[in-house]
Amino acid sequence: MSLLELKHIYKIYGDLHALDNVNLKVEKGEWLAIMGPSGSGKSTMMNIIGCMDKPSKGEVILDGVDIAKENAKSLTTIRRDKIGLIFQQFHLVNYLTAIENVMLAQYYHSIPDEKEALEALDRVGLKDRARHLPSQLSGGEQQRVCVARALINHPEIILADEPTGNLDDKNEEIVVELFRKLHEDGTTLIVVTHDPEVAEVAQRMVVLRSGKISRETVNEHFTGHIRFDN
């Protein structure tokens, strides 16, 4: 059974079909990239998978549960337990230190454990910056804190929305490298992006256009390492 399965998903705002009969299966441990231009429905799809929105029609089966039928409260619970979110704008609580931001996720999930949080920061290479506030960290470092926060509760899926959109090449490489490590550890990754370089690293890539999946490609030469064209 697939970890995540979208069956005939529609999301309709008035006349606009943001998602129009989308079908998608994601296997456990898979690294999937979702690409598409602005307005293609990427964000809507990401919100639905991230349990932050519900489809107008269709089924979203996550780990055997149809989340389209759940209420807001249990969606929160599912999101908390199964999904780790990474955003383009980082979204760290700006008055909490790096480690506290990581602990925040633990706090909502179960019990905050400073040691475990520090280990997570170590995994993203920020152990020595644990006591810094977001404003004292660079963009890349902030995004790495977000990665640490996303993986701290061992989620089924890490869902990243334009994780490299605000980063320079160097930091982009670092973040993708982190994804590769996560993938090696068996984490399911869904990365929404419009950066082909980031998308091409993934095992599989789907392209959305006007709310429909227009193309799906499997990366034959999957290594998990980013390849620069130049």
């Binding site: 929160t76 979204h91 609580v93 230190t97 706090y107 019990i111």
Partner: protein, 380 residues
């Protein structure tokens, strides 16, 4: 345990690291709490303080003899029926007709120190008389052309009812001052009680006593009854003009301060609520983020309310002391007396501050938690 520790760690982090915003909120709450505790302290104290001012009108109770006159013992006995703290002043008077420049004049013998308290409105030019001196009413001074510093011979005639020669007694007294009141007192002369006793040769006689009692109308009535029911040979009666008017005016003044307090408090509390609402509304994005990483609505409400209520508590504590300082300042400047600190007002102020902050925070937090986290994180 660890969860609670994290809870406090987050709240303190929010308070310490978002300092400028927190100062905005804290300032608002502290202003509110200051006004709350300050005005309530003043309101509590106004009846007492204003009541004391009304004692400027002088005596509000008169003791008259049941028979011809009463004694010092009767007087003291009657006074013992009124709590010491309420008694502003009690002045015994003895009236005798004496002659100065062969003109008959009413002389009042009294205790000058008490008279100052029961008749604070007396305007004395020169000095109040000590032993051996006399104070003359402005009217007497003008008609008899008496001047301050003159020494006059005061004559008293003892008429014995047995037909024997009246005995004339005299005493030389120095005029220490003149008295203006705009009333009949201007036509009397005032001498210390012991001098009048020396002149007349009889002691321990009181014709009338004026009492200035700082009590409400009801308390006054019961004091009056207590004296009248007592065994001493005095009748107490209230000076209607003073007591009735005092009740009218004091009630109005109290109502004024109460209403002003209510209006100011209502407006201030709305202001505190507005500011707290603004401060929380600003953090919609953060609320969205917390929801996105898995916070339940309940835990968000709990954290933000915890933060707000902690602020409310600190602001309330701060305000209750600043407010007391303000009330003390007002009391010192307006009434030249100090206010005793009411410890009960501190927890009340803190609780009210917490309650208002909590209510003010609840509305924006509720509306923020009902918003889709995705929308909050994407837009705006």
């Amino acid at each position: 345990m660890k969860t609670r520790k994290m809870f406090f760690r987050m709240i303190t982090a929010s308070l310490m690291r978002r300092r400028s915003r927190m100062i905005v909120a804290l300032l608002a709450i502290a202003i509110g709490a200051t006004i709350l505790s300050g005005l309530i302290t003043i309101y509590n104290d106004v009846p007492r303080q204003m009541g004391a001012q009304f004692r400027n009108y002088g005596a509000n109770m008169i003791l008259t003899p049941t028979e011809e006159s009463f004694t010092k013992a009767d007087f003291d006995e009657a006074l013992s029926r009124i709590p010491d703290a309420d008694l502003v002043g009690a002045t015994p008077y003895r009236y005798e007709t004496v002659r100065i420049h062969e003109q008959p004049i009413m002389a009042a013998g009294t205790d000058m120190e008490s008279a100052k308290k029961t008749s604070p409105y007396w305007l004395v030019e020169g000095e109040w008389p000590a032993s051996g001196s006399i104070m003359v009413g402005a009217g007497v001074a003008e008609s008899l052309e008496l001047k301050i510093g003159d020494t006059e011979t005061v004559t008293y005639t003892i008429e014995r009812g047995d037909g024997s020669e009246p005995e004339e007694r005299t005493l030389d007294l120095t005029i220490s001052g003149t008295l203006s009141t705009g009333g009949s007192e201007e036509n009397y002369v005032y001498v210390p009680m012991e001098d009048l006793e020396q002149l007349t040769g009889t002691a321990d006689r009181i014709d009338l006593a004026e009492l200035s009692v700082s009590q409400t109308a009801d308390q006054l009535n019961s004091s009056m009854e207590a004296i009248n029911d007592g065994p001493e040979k005095v009748t107490a009666s209230l000076v209607k003009r003073v007591t009735a008017s005092e009740t009218t005016v004091l009630t109005k003044l109290q109502a004024l301060v109460l209403l002003v307090t209510i209006v100011v408090l209502a407006l201030t509390m709305i202001y505190v609520a507005t500011t707290m609402t603004a401060v929380v509304t600003e953090r919609r994005k953060e609320i969205g983020l917390r929801k996105a990483i898995g916070a339940s609505d309940l835990s968000i409400v709990r954290e933000f309310m915890g933060e707000g209520m902690l602020l409310g508590g600190i602001g309330g504590l701060l305000g209750s002391f600043v407010g007391f300082a303000f009330a003390q300042f007002v009391s010192r400047n307006v009434f030249s007396s100090s206010i005793s600190f009411r410890p009960l007002l501190v927890p009340v102020t803190i609780l009210v501050s917490i309650a208002i902050t909590a209510i003010a925070c609840l509305i924006p937090i509720r509306s923020a938690t009902s918003v889709d986290p995705a929308l909050v994180l994407k837009g705006e």
